[in-house]
């Protein structure tokens, strides 16, 4: 029953309701009619008894039994009446009537009234004439008429019920569609939607009744699902797109990274090469300086030795004091050369190493100046040191820092040289050391050279940028210097005024601060 299709449920319900209704109505009618026909029969029999009584008045009064019998004989036209009797006022029978055999009429009258007894309706009715009861009429009728009527009625009711159920079933089958069809369609659509996940389907609209509202609600729901779906799809597409983009970006970035690493490696290699070249150049320069430096004491030694040789040839007498002085001077000059050579050896061996240690910048500066001093003098350039004195130590690699100072001095030398070559002004370079506050130490290399044009000042720290001839500079000096300074947490600042000069400042944190 539960799984029966809604249209058959409707048909069943309609059929059941109409059949039960018709049955109840018919049953009510049958009962009512049976009662009514019973009442009518009683009424009719009572009336008939009255008529017979009226007709019998004279017979009763004059004791005319024959006429009374004739009156009763007329009841033959009423086949239902089985017995009848006329009783006189003395309660004796005046006339009898019987039809179709069977029982006889009672031999004495009963009080006015009627009763149903077995298969018969029995009626007694007094005969009143002129306010006097002159006798009693008895009639007894069988109930065949009632039974037949009831039978006919039941047959008709049966036919009506059968007909009504057939008609109502047909009508129900025809009309159930009004309710079931939209429901079935809605169910089909719902099933199709859930089976194919197709939210573009729509149930057919259906008026404004509850079903219509339900279908409209269902369609609204589908629409919402659909729009949510397409939103989701859109978002998913966007995400997909974004993921692809990211993938692409990532691989691009990876490629770029790889390229950069390659470039860096190349640059590193180049830089190593350049460093070596620079080192060689520095060495070259130093070699020139060294040669120059060594030349002077060597010439002194030679002069002293030669002088002593000449004195020996000429057999000059020389007191011991004099000879000692000469030898001491030779030793002094030799020591100086040893010192120079020792310095060069140390520089060559240790430069580029990154061991750091607290060092005094003044010592570094003096060392660098002593290396390049002869060169400056040879070129007729002034080189001076101005030290504030008592400077705190800084944490750096001594030879790297010396390399920085040498680089800066070399640059300044080139600058003042080209300047004095241009206008003959006396070239001058000052190396100044100071401690502007308790945290820093500064080394300034100031010259009055040609300066750096504004257009290129931003580029001077770039590796391989140079304004010098290819055989004189690698373009790495400032770049390396800055790297070295920054490795010691310091700064290399370049200030320049074209045609006035340049000041390079190395700012280094003092060692104590670094340690803390």
């Amino acid at each position: 029953m539960r799984n029966l299709s809604i249209r058959w449920k409707l048909v069943l319900i309609i059929g059941l309701v109409s059949n039960v209704t018709v049955l109840l109505a018919c049953a009510t009618l049958v009962v009512f009619d049976w009662n009514a026909s019973r009442d009518a029969m009683v009424e009719r029999m009572t009336t008939l008894a009255g008529v017979v009584g009226n007709n019998s008045v004279a017979s009763l009064e004059f004791g005319d039994a024959r006429t009374a019998r004739e009156i009763l004989a007329e009841l033959e036209t009423e086949p239902n009446i089985k017995t009848a009797a006329i009783y006189g006022a003395d309660r004796r029978v005046l006339a009898f009537y019987q039809q179709g055999g069977g029982q006889l009429a009672p031999t004495s009258p009963e009080p006015e009234g009627y009763r149903f007894e077995e298969e018969f309706l029995i009626v007694f009715r007094p005969v009143i004439y002129r306010e006097k009861q002159v006798g009693t009429i008895h009639l007894s009728s069988d109930l065949r008429e009632l039974d037949e009527r009831l039978g006919r009625y039941v047959a008709v009711v049966g036919a009506v019920v059968v007909g009504a159920s057939v008609v109502s079933l047909l009508l129900a089958i025809l009309l159930q569609g009004v309710i079931s069809r939209p429901i079935t369609r809605l169910a089909d659509v719902a099933q199709a939607v859930s089976r194919h996940q197709n939210y573009a389907l729509r149930a057919e609209p259906h008026g404004q009744d509850e079903l219509g509202k339900m279908i409209a609600g269902f369609n609204d729901m589908l629409e919402q699902i659909q729009s949510r779906d397409s939103e989701l799809q859109g978002t998913r597409d966007q995400l997909q797109q974004r993921a692809e983009q990211l993938q692409q970006e990532l691989s691009e970035r990876l490629r770029a990274e790889e390229a950069r690493e390659n470039a860096e490696r190349e640059l590193e290699a180049q830089r190593t090469l350049s460093l070596r070249a620079d080192r060689l150049r520095s060495l070259g320069e130093m070699a020139a300086g060294i040669a120059h430096e060594l030349n002077q004491p060597l010439m002194g030694v030679r002069g002293l030795a030669e002088h002593m040789l000449i004195a020996m040839e000429r057999e000059w007498t020389m007191d011991e004091e004099h000879i000692r002085d000469r030898l001491e001077r030779i030793v002094e000059q030799s020591d100086r050369m040893v010192h120079i050579i020792d310095h060069v050896r140390r520089f060559a061996g240790e430069a580029g190493r990154s061991d750091v240690a607290p060092i005094q910048v003044d010592g570094i500066v003096e060392s660098a100046v002593s290396l390049l001093g002869a060169q400056f003098k040879a070129h007729g350039l002034d080189l001076a040191i101005e030290s504030a004195g008592n400077l705190p130590p800084v944490l750096a690699n001594a030879f790297s820092l010396e390399e920085v100072v040498i680089n800066l001095l070399s640059n300044s030398r080139d600058a003042v040289e080209s300047r004095s070559a241009a206008d003959g002004r006396q070239g001058r370079v000052v190396v100044r050391t100071s401690s502007p506050d308790s945290t820093q130490v500064c080394i300034e290399v100031e010259d009055n050279g040609s300066g750096i044009p504004e257009s290129i000042i931003a580029k001077v720290f770039d590796p391989f940028f140079t304004t010098k001839d290819p055989d004189k500079g690698t373009g790495l000096g400032l770049a390396i210097s800055r790297t070295i300074v920054e490795e010691s947490d310091g700064q290399l600042i370049l200030e320049s005024t074209p045609d006035q000069g340049t000041r390079a400042t190395v700012v280094l944190p003092i060692a104590e601060i670094v340690r803390v």
Binding site: E61, F62, R92, V93, Y129, R130
Partner: protein, 182 residues
């Protein structure tokens, strides 16, 4: 069946008419006639104004010599159901006849019947008799005992001329003559 019916008829007639007043023997022809005459009052209507009121007595006169006169007198005390009282008057001669409502004319007056009826004229008196040709001769109801049964012959014209209305119930039992004159 027939003896049974007859028996019933007789018994009924006896009891109905005599109301059990005359003993057990079979009623005579006269007794039956007397009972019938007494009943006529209930089946005949006299013209309005004949009786002063409902308790005014009805007078039954017997003209001539006949046993019925005495029988009537004997039966009066036993009457039940009659609203009006009944009195019986017996006269020998027509001249002695008082105002009456029913007149029984004895067979002894057979030869004087025409004169009697002529004397009565249009008076509203129900004339009853048992002689032959009574109804055809102008009497209103003739009684005849025939075949163990009381038969009545009614001259409707005579009754109508006397302004009397005889109940159809009675007519139902009777044979009607004189109708052709209407």
């Amino acid at each position: 069946m027939r003896p049974f019916i007859q028996h019933i008829f007789l018994t009924t007639l006896l009891t109905a008419v005599l109301a059990g007043g005359v003993g057990a023997q079979r009623p005579t022809e006269h007794q039956i006639k007397a009972a019938v005459v007494l009943k006529f009052g209930r089946f005949v209507e006299w013209p309005a104004g004949t009786f002063a009121d409902s308790s005014s007595p009805m007078t039954i006169a017997v003209l001539g010599r006949d046993a019925i006169g005495q029988l009537l007198e004997e039966m009066i005390p036993d009457l039940t159901g009659n609203i009006r009282p009944v009195q019986v008057v017996r006269v020998e001669r027509l001249e002695d006849l008082p105002t009456c409502h029913i007149l029984f004319i004895s067979a002894s007056e057979n030869r004087r019947l025409a004169g009697i009826l002529a004397t009565l004229g249009d008076r509203s008196v129900l004339t009853v008799g048992d002689m032959e040709w009574f109804a055809r001769g102008g009497g209103m109801i003739r009684l005849r005992f025939d075949d163990e049964r009381m038969r009545m012959r009614v001259n409707l014209k005579a009754a109508r001329d006397a302004d009397l209305r005889i109940s159809s119930r009675l007519l139902h039992l009777a044979e009607i003559v004189g109708e052709q004159d209407r």
